[in-house]
């Protein structure tokens, strides 16, 4: 049939475009509607259409008002009014007449009147009240058609308050001899139930009668009500389970009249409705579920795969099977059925297959395994809907091992997505995962940087919501703040808004006293932001400080106090700034001490220096300088030995890299033995093909390290996905997919309790490949590995020079404690390698990869920072910490004392993981670390360039002459124009007054003022200038800003606006 339709419909546009009315004329050549429609079709511009419709509406208005218009004409007018409404023009003048038509017209006019009313009016419309009497009259009419119309109208919309007026009559219709009336009455009651459930409570027994109606149509209609009822309280309708099961059995068995068949499937709508009801009834109820197993199985069996409609039933059936109390046999059959969906070439079925899999994997993630490759394919599908569904599925199979890959995929999607709704949803999911698996928390951070501006905002919202719950673990809280601070740094353009937002958020969401614990986490970070922008947000700082003065928490009080002093004392600020060049280097808030202090206080340790004492000291010194802070550091370090994450964040960044090296032998640790594996100079000699000829490959890896002042070095996180993907040198797409599959489905469906390293799924994957390749023929094999590490710090501002003696010593202690032991590689006899646990995973591991000479990709695991007083070993990922491991070996003491490389091996059940720690022992910040692995087996290739956000800390006056200004002006590319408010002050001209205000408040340098124009200059601390050209234009100041940095003018402009607003 559809072919016919398509054929006819496809001929249509040509007909329409023809000027002749050959097609249309036949239909209604004379009617006014026909003329109107044709007129509209011929028009090309929206404007013409508007004009024509306006004319039409005016005509309608005139006609309806005329007393001479007959009902018959009125009907015609209504049709035109409906048409106008459809085009998006309000024909409100005809509303009342539509009601009138329904009221007074003959049956044929009445029908259109009702239709017009249902199209024009909303449930809440007051006009509807006028319809109640008409409906009442028609319901009582002896004309069946009128009753039908009234019931149809009522089922579409009816004023809630008037239900009691007609309810008895509608109820009466339930016993009407005509089934069509009964059916409509049931649907009217359904509508009543939806809009006012308590009004129809007393007639539940009548619903049962409808359910038992001899007409299948009426029974089907009653199921709408039952679905709703059962959904709301399944408990009250358990007794009906048998009835529903019986009905379904009869339907499936083909007991209904042929009329109800749809494409030779018996009453599919009825079946689906019943399946949904059964799902609600059987949910978490074994007894009830057992009653329906048979019929569910039968529907599954009966529905042959031949038409969409059977797929619809199957889909519903599978959904029900997976909702009710599980029965293994049935689940299996359903899963098999879903397989057909997923494998179907039809995209609609594929989509539903993915959706169904999300139900399926909730029961048993194993079931996703057979469809791995399809899922991977769908992940790259051109249709975003399929992609989205795939991500949803992946979200459900997340475990500790694949979470990073999945999150990465989600982020990838987020970057491309423009759909608000799915973005919010997905960001929520990422946040949820981040909460569940704290170790991936760095990831969402990367995502926020460089994404559309609304995403960070959504993220903030989510974080804020997260904060409502008291039991949130502190890691997440910390993460929230961290990420936000990082966000702020990344989003220079939208920064001020974000900044104010976060303040208000903190103030409203985190009342002091309620969450003292929480405040302690947040405060340092907030202060950190403050310290960047302290000068522009003077008043806010003050307000904030005052608020915290009242705090009972000495830590917070002190922090607030310090901030206050810093913001008030320009001299001090100058010193601080000049001392370091960058404000960030002075942790003015002393937030890095926060952890120590709180820990110490909690443990009842050394008392904290009270604020007033500090104040006295400050009074003596007249200024807060860098010096005391430097001194205070070791003091507080000595007072508490335990550091918490806050210290972590503030301490100089260290990067640890753990590599997982695969080998075909597992090694046992010889604890305390002198035969630790010597890593230097030992080559990996065994590969898939046996002995490997060495051909060193050099791979450069760059890992950017965030500067110290970042509360958390989150930016440095390298996701394994990018590693694994870039690691394979030009692999075939298939391989790539298989690799992806193995990383996505790792851990899915396995009952293996040992967690692989959180971020190194890829490595263990490849590891398993090897035993496969060698066929585990070698029970004993020699494992050797060679990683020669050379480290070089590339300075991007701050180099890796060590600055403090104290920290310099620390690494040497480590070195002493764990001297490198050079010995033979350990050879040991492990038991037979465990068989690859799940065929699905193993099968996907690319073997071709091995042929290319790459055996293992060490998976860098940058354990970002560590407190300096904890041994490195404590930074092992949590999954590894419980396992046997070798001693920590310093790999290369190196000429650079600032950077230390050490490694240790961790023996997992099925893999040897080589963890390489790269730590920065200096006080300064690592900006880039280049790691080069020279090994045949190593094929690491990834780079990340983190661009450091410009920190708009302070504008310094840029003293230039007018001539220089002119030259600079021409050389700058980024400009912004904006009008600013002028300030009027007593005897000065408005321009001078305004510029002076800017000079005073923002430290801008007024270069020159010529007539109504003025030029102003300033620069950032780092030296990048910004030039302003101001001209008085009417009542405002037209400002034109230029700078080499794109964000700077915007930012400066904001500050100017603020400064002027405050003046």
């Amino acid at each position: 049939m559809s072919d016919v339709v398509e054929k006819t419909l496809s001929a249509l546009p040509s007909l329409l475009s023809l000027d002749s009315n050959a097609g249309a004329g036949k239909l209604s050549s004379t009617s006014k509607l026909g003329n109107l429609i044709r007129g509209i079709t011929e028009l090309t511009s929206k404007h013409d259409e508007e004009k024509l419709i306006k004319k039409e509406l005016a005509a309608i208005k005139e006609q309806v008002a005329s007393p001479n218009t007959t009902m018959r004409q009125m009907k015609e007018i209504m049709v035109r009014a409906i048409y106008c409404e459809m085009l998006g023009y309000q024909a409100s003048v005809s509303y009342i007449h539509a009601i009138k038509l329904a009221q007074q017209g003959s049956v044929l006019e009445k029908r259109l009147g009702y239709l017009a009313v249902s199209l024009f009016l909303n449930e809440s419309d007051e006009f509807l009240l006028l319809l109640v009497n008409t409906v009442l009259k028609d319901l009582q009419s002896t004309n069946l058609n009128e009753v039908c119309m009234a019931l149809t109208a009522v089922s579409q919309m009816f004023p809630k308050d008037m239900i009691p007026a007609i309810l008895p009559i509608v109820e009466e219709k339930l016993t009407h001899p005509k089934e069509v009336i009964r059916r409509k009455a049931v649907l009217a009651l359904y509508k009543f139930y939806l809009i006012a459930p308590n009004q129809v409570q007393h007639i539940h027994s009548k619903f049962r009668k409808a359910l038992c109606d001899k007409d299948p149509g009426v029974m089907t209609a009653s199921l709408h009500i039952y679905l709703q009822l059962v959904k709301e309280s399944p408990e009250s309708y358990k007794d009906l389970t048998v009835s529903f099961v019986t009905i379904l059995r009869q339907v499936v068995g083909g007991k209904l009249p042929m009329d109800f068949n749809y494409h030779s499937v018996p009453a599919p709508w009825l079946q689906i409705q019943l399946l949904r009801i059964l799902a609600y009834l059987g949910k978490e109820d074994q007894g009830t579920s057992e009653m329906m197993y048979d019929v569910l199985e039968e529907s599954l069996r009966r529905a042959e795969m031949n038409h969409n409609i059977t797929y619809a039933i199957l889909y519903e059936c599978v959904k029900s099977i997976y909702t009710v109390y599980p029965k293994a046999e049935l689940l299996e059959k359903a899963a098999k059925c879903i397989g057909n969906f997923v494998l179907s070439p039809k995209i609609n079925l594929k989509y539903l297959g993915l959706k169904a899999l999300t139900y399926v994997v909730a029961q048993d993630p194993n079931l996703a395994l057979p469809h791995q490759m399809t899922i991977i394919e769908c992940l790259d599908h051109s249709d975003i809907i399929i992609k989205r569904a795939t991500l949803e599925l992946l979200f459900r199979i997340t475990n500790a091992q694949n979470v990073t890959v999945i999150v990465e995929k989600m982020l990838e999607f987020l970057r491309q997505s423009s759909n608000d709704y799915s973005t919010v949803d997905l960001v929520g999911k990422v946040a949820e995962l981040a909460e569940k698996y704290p170790f991936i928390k760095q990831d969402p951070l990367n995502l926020c940087n460089g994404m559309q501006p609304d995403i960070p905002n959504n993220f903030l919202r989510l974080l804020a919501e997260g904060f409502d719950s008291v039991e949130e673990d502190r890691q997440l809280r910390l993460f929230a703040v961290d990420s936000y601070v990082l966000l702020l740094q990344g989003e220079t353009a939208s920064l001020p808004q974000c900044f104010l937002q976060v303040i208000s958020w903190v103030r409203t969401k985190v009342p002091i006293g309620l969450f003292p614990e929480l405040s302690r986490y947040i405060f340092p970070s907030i202060l950190l932001i403050f310290s960047y922008y302290i000068f522009s947000y003077y008043d806010v700082v003050l307000m904030f400080s005052f608020e915290y003065f009242g705090s009972l928490d000495t830590v917070l009080r002190q922090r607030a106090h310090e901030l206050m002093i810093l913001s008030q004392d320009a001299g001090l600020r100058g010193r601080v700034l000049s001392a370091e060049g960058r404000l960030e280097h002075v942790d003015s808030s002393l937030s890095f001490l926060d952890g120590h202090v709180s820990e110490a206080l909690a443990a009842g340790a050394a008392p904290y220096k009270p604020p007033h004492q500090r104040q006295e000291e400050l009074a003596h010194e007249k200024a807060l300088s860098l010096e005391p802070y430097g001194l205070s550091l070791p003091v507080s370090l000595s007072t508490c030995s335990i550091t918490d994450r806050l210290t972590d964040r503030q301490s100089p960044t260290r990067l640890s890299i753990s590599s997982s090296v695969s080998g075909n032998s597992t090694e046992l640790s010889l604890k305390g033995g002198s035969t630790t594996l010597k890593l230097d100079g030992v080559k990996r000699v065994w590969g898939k093909e046996g002995y490997l000829v060495q051909q060193p490959k050099e791979v450069v890896e760059e890992t950017p390290l965030p500067p110290t002042e970042l509360p958390s070095p989150l930016g440095s996180f390298q996701s394994p996905v990018s590693q694994t993907q870039t690691a394979s040198p030009g692999p075939e797409p298939d391989q790539e997919r298989q690799q992806l599959a193995s990383s996505l489905f790792v851990g899915v469906g396995t009952h293996h309790s040992v967690c692989l390293m959180g971020r190194t799924e890829a490595a263990p994957q490849r590891f398993r490949r090897k035993p496969k390749g060698t066929g585990s023929s070698s029970g004993t094999s020699e494992h050797s590995s060679n990683s020669s590490h050379s480290s070089s710090g590339t300075a991007a501002g701050n180099t890796l020079d060590s600055t403090t003696a104290a920290t310099g010593q620390q690494i040497s202690q480590h070195a002493l404690g764990h001297p490198p032991v050079n010995g033979n590689p350990i050879v040991e006899t492990p038991g037979p390698l465990p068989p690859v646990r799940d065929g699905g995973v193993a099968a996907e591991i690319p073997t071709g990869h091995t042929d290319s000479g790459t055996l293992a990709d060490p998976n860098e695991d940058p354990v970002p920072v560590r407190p300096r007083d904890l041994p490195l070993i404590s930074h092992l990922p949590a999954e590894l910490s419980g396992l046997a491991r070798s001693k920590l070996t310093t790999l290369c003491p190196g000429p650079d004392p600032g950077l230390a490389l050490s490694s240790c091996r961790v023996y997992k059940e099925d893999a040897l993981v080589l963890v390489v720690f790269v730590s920065n022992n200096s006080d300064s910040t690592l900006h880039r670390v280049a790691l080069r692995f020279t090994s045949k087996q190593l094929e690491v290739l990834f780079q990340t360039n983190t661009t450091f956000p410009i920190r708009f800390s302070e504008n310094l006056p840029l003293t230039v002459s007018t001539g220089e200004y002119g030259k600079m002006w021409l050389s700058f590319s980024h400009d912004v124009k904006q009008n600013l408010r002028l300030i009027t002050a007593g005897d000065q001209s408005p321009l001078t007054a305004t510029l002076d205000t800017l000079r005073d408040r923002l430290h801008l340098h007024v270069v020159d003022i010529i007539g109504s124009e003025g030029i102003v200059a300033c620069r950032l601390l780092r030296g990048q200038p910004c030039l302003l050209h101001c001209r008085v234009h009417a009542d405002s100041l037209a400002v034109w800003l230029r700078s080499p940095i794109p964000e700077f003018p915007d930012s400066l402009l904001y500050h100017c606006q603020k400064a002027l607003a405050e003046a």
């Binding site: 097609g23 909303n122 649907l187 209609a221 989509y351």
Partner: protein
């Protein structure tokens, strides 16, 4: 079902039925957004969309798009079949339906829809019954017209 829209390939609305009350402004916004979204999709793409918090099921018949919005729990495939059944009904009623039939006789298309779906739920799934109901009403109209005219004659 929340609403059903019929629109042409040019994005012109041909039929709209809202089963959940919406403000006029919102209706326009939804229509505009959805028409844009659906028209932008390629022919080989999936017929289902996740749109806001709803699921949208659409199908194209020649130059006409049929588009339904359903809730999360609803079955997409059966909605696709509802669309198809509606097209079947239109086809049967108009006798090989074309877009022009719907443009010029949209009120008839509405009547058929109301007989088939009521309050957003499939009311009568038997094709025969739906058409019977429609024909009955139509017949009645005609007979009434003749009745009226005969009355006039009688009076005269």
């Amino acid at each position: 079902m929340q609403f059903m829209l019929l629109f042409s390939r040019q994005g012109k609305l041909r039929l709209q039925k809202w089963y959940v009350p919406q403000a006029d402004k919102e209706k326009k916004k939804i229509t505009r957004e959805l028409v844009q979204t659906v028209l932008a999709r390629k022919p080989k793409m999936c017929s289902f969309l996740e749109w806001r918090d709803l699921k949208v099921v659409y199908k194209r018949y020649a130059s006409l798009y049929f588009c339904c919005a359903i809730e999360d729990q609803d079955n997409e495939l059966i909605t696709l079949e509802i669309i198809h059944r509606y097209v079947e009904l239109l086809d049967k009623y108009f006798g090989s339906v074309c877009e022009l039939d719907i443009i010029f006789n949209f009120e008839k298309a509405y009547f058929i829809l109301d007989e088939f779906l009521l309050g957003g739920e499939a009311q009568e799934t038997s094709k025969k019954n739906v058409l019977k109901a429609i024909e009955q009403a139509d017949l009645l109209q005609e007979s009434e017209t003749t009745f009226a005219s005969s009355c006039v004659k009688l009076i005269l």
